[in-house]
């Protein structure tokens, strides 16, 4: 009986996750999906979102990787307090994140004299910043876990050969864990792409190259279609974005499998 219960609970959870996806694809159909992918406005939104998410992911990789190493090896003081701070965006509602970012760069901010040359509102900078803010906890947490599990003996050995921590970080940990870093970066990319709550406030409509026209990030674009034109107008775009998100998930899964086998 007990084993059966685990099966039931597992399949129940799978059903909760998968059923809404099936219903969405059923409602849209292949033709609706094709129409969405042929809409230049949607493609532009997608393009903008990817640029913003890639910038946020790059920031995660270049900033988050050394920070995760510093936390993992207790190089910085109060590392557990710092770790809690880095994870805090997970529990902050994303609309609050948007408002906080908006306020930080506004003239009423005490930091305005320092930040006045930067205007992230309705800009790719604001979009990337919001995406970075909400995706960084996933990146830091996962990379730190990877570094925590790394071979301590190897690090002691290399260090005792006269090499400092930066050498170990750059020449030992990065090559040893490149696969995991790519997988976790993709995970944070996926999280950045799916962000809505904060970017609707700080980057509702972004001035975007090449023609400097206003483009909505893709999640805002779908919400706009739903809010202004109704559910049926948003369905195709929602299914298209779901397809992209699933492709990223499968890619991450494939990389994890490859990593586990290596």
């Amino acid at each position: 009986m007990s084993e059966k219960l685990f099966h039931i609970l597992t399949y129940l959870m799978v059903a909760i996750i998968i059923l809404p996806m099936i219903v969405l694809y059923y409602e849209v159909g292949p033709a609706g999906l094709a129409v969405a992918f042929e809409d230049p406005q949607f493609l532009e939104s997608l393009n903008l979102t990817f640029v913003g998410a890639i910038l946020a992911t790059m920031l995660n990789v270049f900033l988050g990787t050394p920070v995760a190493y510093a936390l993992s090896r207790k190089i910085v003081k109060l590392e557990s307090t710092l770790y809690d701070i880095f994870l805090s965006p997970v529990s902050i509602p994303h609309t609050v994140v948007g408002i906080m970012l908006l306020l930080t760069f506004s003239p009423s901010s005490p930091f305005f004299p320092l930040l006045k040359s930067i205007n992230p509102v309705d800009d790719i900078l604001g979009l990337s910043l919001a995406m970075f803010y909400v995706s960084s906890p996933i990146y830091i947490m996962s990379i730190k876990e990877t570094f925590d599990k790394a071979d301590a003996d190897l690090e002691y050995f290399i260090q005792s050969l006269g090499k400092d921590r930066y050498f170990i970080f750059e020449k030992v940990l990065i090559p040893e864990h490149a696969g995991s870093i790519i997988r976790i970066a993709l995970l944070s990319l996926g999280r950045a792409i799916s962000e809505f709550g904060s970017i609707i406030i700080i980057a509702y409509s972004v001035t975007f190259l090449p023609f400097f026209q206003y483009v909505k990030p893709v999640t805002v674009f779908i919400w706009y279609k739903y809010d202004v034109y109704g559910l049926s107008s948003a369905l195709g775009y929602a299914a298209a974005l779901l397809t992209i998100s699933l492709l990223i998930s499968f890619f991450i899964y494939a990389l994890s499998r490859k990593n586990a086998q290596a």
């Binding site: 050995f157 290399i158 005792s160 090559p175 040893e176």
Partner: protein
């Protein structure tokens, strides 16, 4: 002339408590730390390397090294488990240590493996590369934890001869059995503080 001095050194690690170690080792000496598993051979090496905490003082060339970080201590520690940077070549691993590591590895018949990625090697070959890196380092003190583990009999013979020929260093080796041709022997079972 390098000197390594241990003055009233004792180490506590989990349930294990070992000491007091009072030794002076000189350049070109090869010291064997032997005894059964779980008696603290590795613990002693980890303490000398500065990886774990210990009581007492350790001096290298008459300078106290107690508060030196691992990379500045002048003591290389090669762990018992074969540990290499797996995703880079054997030669790139050897280069981490310095130019003489590649020469030592050649003397151990490893030249044919230089271009291979480290993860493709057997544990025995990895161990030989690791010992080559340790012996090729500029540190005056080399700690080799179970260097003959994983290594074939034929290669063990070669490894012993390379270690014996190494000059200008103080080398401490651990083994569960007493072996011949060492300058000094430390029977770790004689240093169990928990039994006192």
């Amino acid at each position: 002339m390098h000197r390594l001095e241990l003055k009233n050194v004792s180490v506590k690690r989990g349930n294990l408590s070992i000491g007091l170690f009072n030794f002076t080792f000189k350049e070109n000496e090869k010291i064997l730390v032997y005894g059964p598993n779980g008696y603290g051979k590795t613990t002693l090496l980890l303490a000398i390397a500065g990886i774990i905490k210990y009581e007492g003082d350790i001096f290298l060339d008459e300078k106290p090294v107690n508060y030196y970080t691992l990379e500045k201590r002048g003591i290389t520690y090669a762990p018992a488990k074969p540990a290499l940077v797996n995703r880079i070549s054997v030669l790139d691993n050897l280069k981490i240590s310095g130019n003489s590591a590649a020469e030592i590895a050649k003397n151990m018949g490893l030249k044919n493996y230089f271009e291979q990625k480290a993860y493709t090697l057997s544990d025995g070959l990895k161990k030989l590369v690791q010992v080559s890196m340790a012996l090729g380092s500029s540190a005056p003190v080399i700690l080799l934890d179970e260097p003959f583990a994983f290594v074939s009999e034929e290669k063990s013979f070669l490894l012993k001869s390379v270690i014996n020929k190494t000059q200008g260093k103080i080398i401490l080796i651990t083994s569960h059995e007493r072996m011949q041709n060492f300058s000094e022997y430390i029977d770790i079972s004689q240093y169990q503080l928990r039994n006192l």
